[in-house]
Symmetry: C2
Subunit: 445 residues, 2 copies
C-alpha cells in the first residue's frame, strides 16, 4: 500500500470534489492517501475542505486533507493531479453564449472561453513538468479532446482525459428493456464523438435488437416520450446518425456536438424535432447550470449547519466515476479496463493521426495505461470525423499557439450556421470586446 497525494485543481467545484472524496474513502488501496484541494476561490475551497473532513470523520476513513490557493503547492509531491477547473467559471461562458445568440447562433456559437481553458490546461501541465514531472494528470474538464491533445503535444506529462459520455450505452439498454448487467460494449472515437462498434447482450450481438426497436417501436417511443430535457440517447437524431454512418452514436455525441451534425442545430424547432420536445441539451444548458447551482446551495447549507450529515448527501457507495478506480489501478496494479482519452500512439483507432487524442478502451494497471486496439471506424465516419472534429481542434490549437486572428475568423466561418463573412467578423469583435476577454484581444492580432 503506497501513500499517494491526489491534488484536485478547481476543487471548489464541490459536487465533483465530494464525489472523488467519497470514492477515495471507499477504496481500500487508497486509504492512507492525502487529498489536496486547490482553488482560487477561498470561500469555496474552505467549503469543500470542511465537508471532506467531516465526511471522512463520519465514515471513519483515514484520508488526510490539505487545501491551498497556490497551484505549485498542490503540485509539490503530488502523484496525481485531477484538473476539473473551468477558467472564468460558467458565467463567462453563458455571457458568450448570449453574444452568440445575438449574432444568430442558436444555443451559442464560438466561445473564447475555449482559449482560456486551453491556456489554463497547458499552464497546469507545464507547472507539473517543473514540480511533479512524474505525476499523472487526469483531465476532468472540457474540452477533453482539444485539451489532452494540446498537453500531450506540448509537454511530457502523462495525461488521461475522462468523460462519462460512454455511459449513454446504458440508456440504450434501458430503452430496449435489457438488463444493463448483461450487456458488453465498445464505443471508441474522439471525446464527445464516440460510436458503438460492438454491442452484446448475454454474449450475443445486440445490434439486431436496436434495429428491431427502430423498425417496430421507435415511432411510438418518440410519440409518447416523457423523459427529461437531457434525454436524447434514443432520439431521432441518434437514429439518423446511425443510419448515416452505420454505427450508433453514444452519449454527448448525439446532442452536444453541433460540429458533427449542424443540421440538427439550425433553430429551436429543429432541435425539438431531432432531440426531444424540450430541444435537448443544446436548448437547456441553463437548466443544467440551475441544477448545479441548487446542488451547490445545498452543500453550502450542510457546510453551515454542522449538525447535518455530509454522508447523507453522499451515501457511501462508489460514484461510478472512473477517476479513483483508475488511480487505484495505477497505484496498486489492480488491472482494469476503462474508457480513456489518450494519444493515438500505435494507432489504436486506425485512420486517426497518431498525435491526436482518441477515446478508446484502455487497460490500466501498474504498467500504466495501454490502449486496446479497436481497429478502424467505417470509412465514411472516419472521413467525417477528420473533416469536422479533428480539423476544428487543429484550427483551435493553432489559433491558441499562434495568436493568429485570421484563424479565429476561419473557425467561425467553419461553423456551418454562419451565413456571411461579416457575421463572423462581427461575432468575433463582440466577443473580444467583453471585459474578461481583454487578454485575448491583445493576443489575437
Amino acid at each position: 500500500m503506497t501513500k499517494v497525494k491526489i491534488s484536485i485543481i478547481g476543487a471548489g467545484s464541490a459536487v465533483f470534489s465530494m464525489s472523488l472524496v467519497r470514492d477515495v474513502c471507499l477504496t481500500e488501496g487508497l486509504k492512507d492517501s492525502t487529498i489536496c484541494f486547490m482553488d482560487i476561490n477561498k470561500e469555496r475551497l474552505d467549503t469543500v475542505y470542511s465537508l471532506a473532513k467531516r465526511y471522512a470523520q463520519e465514515t471513519k476513513a483515514k484520508i488526510s486533507f490539505s487545501k491551498t490557493l497556490e497551484r505549485k503547492e498542490a503540485f509539490q509531491d503530488a502523484d496525481f493531479v485531477i484538473n476539473t477547473a473551468l477558467a472564468g467559471g460558467h458565467e463567462r461562458s453563458e455571457i458568450e453564449r448570449k453574444v452568440g445568440e445575438k449574432h444568430g447562433y442558436v444555443s451559442g456559437g464560438m466561445r473564447l472561453s475555449y482559449f482560456h481553458q486551453l491556456g489554463l490546461m497547458l499552464s497546469i501541465a507545464q507547472d507539473m513538468e517543473d514540480t511533479c514531472p512524474d505525476a499523472w494528470l487526469i483531465l476532468a474538464a472540457n474540452p477533453v479532446f482539444d485539451g489532452c491533445t494540446l498537453m500531450t503535444r506540448q509537454t511530457k506529462i502523462k495525461v488521461i482525459g475522462l468523460c462519462h459520455g460512454h455511459y449513454g450505452v446504458y440508456d440504450i439498454a434501458r430503452v430496449l428493456g435489457l438488463d444493463r448487467n448483461k450487456i458488453t460494449f465498445q464505443a471508441p472515437g474522439l471525446n464527445h464523438c464516440i460510436w458503438l462498434t460492438d454491442f452484446r447482450y448475454e454474449g450475443k450481438d445486440a445490434y439486431p435488437l436496436i434495429d428491431e426497436w427502430i423498425e417496430t417501436k421507435a415511432e411510438d417511443y418518440w410519440k409518447n416520450w416523457e423523459g427529461n430535457w437531457g434525454d436524447g440517447q434514443m432520439s431521432r437524431a441518434a437514429v439518423s446518425l446511425y443510419k448515416m454512418f452505420g454505427l450508433f452514436p453514444i452519449g454527448d455525441t448525439v446532442q452536444q456536438n453541433p460540429t458533427i451534425a449542424w443540421w440538427h442545430y439550425v433553430d429551436l424547432e429543429t432541435q425539438k424535432r431531432w432531440f426531444n420536445k424540450y430541444g435537448g441539451w443544446p436548448a437547456n444548458w441553463s437548466n443544467y447550470l440551475e441544477g448545479l447551482k441548487k446542488h451547490l446551495e445545498r452543500l453550502d447549507r450542510i457546510y453551515r449547519d454542522s449538525s447535518m450529515l455530509v454522508s447523507k448527501e453522499f451515501p457511501p457507495k462508489l460514484s461510478g466515476e472512473q477517476h479513483i478506480p483508475i488511480i487505484n489501478a495505477l497505484v496498486n496494479d489492480q488491472e482494469g479496463k476503462f474508457q480513456v482519452n489518450i494519444p493515438n500512439r500505435g494507432c489504436a483507432l486506425e485512420g486517426i493521426p497518431s498525435d491526436v487524442v482518441v477515446e478508446v478502451p484502455g487497460v490500466v494497471s501498474g504498467r500504466g495505461v495501454q490502449a486496446i486496439h479497436v481497429g478502424a471506424l467505417p470509412k465514411h465516419l472516419a472521413i467525417h470525423l477528420l473533416r469536422t472534429i479533428v480539423t476544428r481542434m487543429e484550427l483551435g490549437l493553432e489559433a491558441f499557439l499562434t495568436g493568429d486572428k485570421s484563424i479565429l475568423l476561419n473557425m467561425v466561418l467553419s461553423d456551418h450556421r454562419t451565413r456571411s463573412y461579416e457575421q463572423a467578423q462581427a461575432l468575433i469583435e463582440d466577443l473580444l470586446a467583453l471585459p474578461f476577454n481583454e487578454d485575448l484581444k491583445k493576443k489575437f492580432k
Copy 2:
C-alpha cells in the same frame, strides 16, 4: 528519335485536340508520331481528324493520324493516352447546375456528373492496364484532383494530371506591371487550390511588390477595373484569401472553388463584390460555354470549306500547354520542369497524406516524373485544405466506390450553403430523377 503513339480520348473536343496537334507538329522530337483520335461522337471525330490532317499537310509535318470510335483500339500500342473526355458533355452538367439553382445554390450545388466523370476516368485507366499497361495517362479533364487520386489508388497506371491554373501568376505580373519573362515562382497545392509559396522578380523576392500594390493601388484598381468576366486573379477575394492564409492564391483557386471559401459564393451580389462586377467565373460559366461553342462552330466552318487554311486558325507557334512538352521530355529525355498533379509519394508537399494527388513542380525527363520537394504550406492553410478539399474528395471517392447514398447526403450537407437536411435530400432526389442519371439512381442505395 522514337516513334510514339499518342491517343486522345474525347478528341471531339476539337479546340483542345487541335492545340495538341499543333504542338506535336512543332516538336522536332515527336515528328514521326502517330496521333490517334478517339471519341464516341462520329461527326466530331471526323471533323477533328480531317482538320488535323489538313493542318499537318499545310505545315508539312510528317505526323500520322488515325481515328476510332473504340477505346481499346486507341489503347493498342499507345505510349501516351490523353484523357480530355467529359462524360455526358457540358449539357448535362448545365442541367444539373440549374437543378442546384432551383434548390437555392447560386451557380449550382452538387453535380452527379462528377460520378460519371470518375467512372469514365477509372474505366479508362483500367482498360489501359489490360491493353497498354506501360503507357502514360495524361488527365486533361476535370476533376483532376479527385480523378488522379482515384486512378492512382485503384490502378498501376502512371498518371499525370495537368491544368493551366498556375498561369494565373502571369496575371499578377501584368497587374503589377512586371515583365513576365523576369519572374520565377512556385505555386504548389491541390489542383484548383494552389498557393504562391515563392515569387521572385529578377531573382529578388517579389512578395513585397504585391504587398505594396495592395497597400497603395488595390482600391483604385478595383474601382476602375475594366476586365472581362473571368478576370479575378487580383480581386478582393484573392487579397482576402492572401490575408487569411498568408500566401497568394493562384488561378482557379480564387474563384472556381466554393469549397475553400463558401463566403464568396453566397449569392450573386456577394460574388460581384468579391470577384468582379460580373460576378466572376461562377456567375459566367455559360459565357465560357458560349465561347467554346462559337469556337467549335468556326472550326466546323473551316472543316466544311476546304479552301480555308486550318493553320490560319492555329498559327504555327507553341500553345503554351504542357502536354506535348511533357511527352517530349519523357520520350527524348529532354529534362524540363512542369507543374504536375501526381501522388504525394515522398511527401513533396508536407502535411498532405501520401496517397493524395498534389499539384507540385516536377522534373520530367527520361527518368519519368520526379516531384520537387516544396516543403509545407502554412499550418493554418494546410489544416484548411485538409478540412475542405481533401475530405470532400475522400467523401466523393468513397461514395463512388461504395454506392452508399448516405455519403451523397453528407456531401450535400457539407456544402456550406445548404440550410437544412430536407433541402439536401430534395436536391439529391431531383438530381437522381434526371433521365441521364438513371444508372446513378440504381447505384446509390
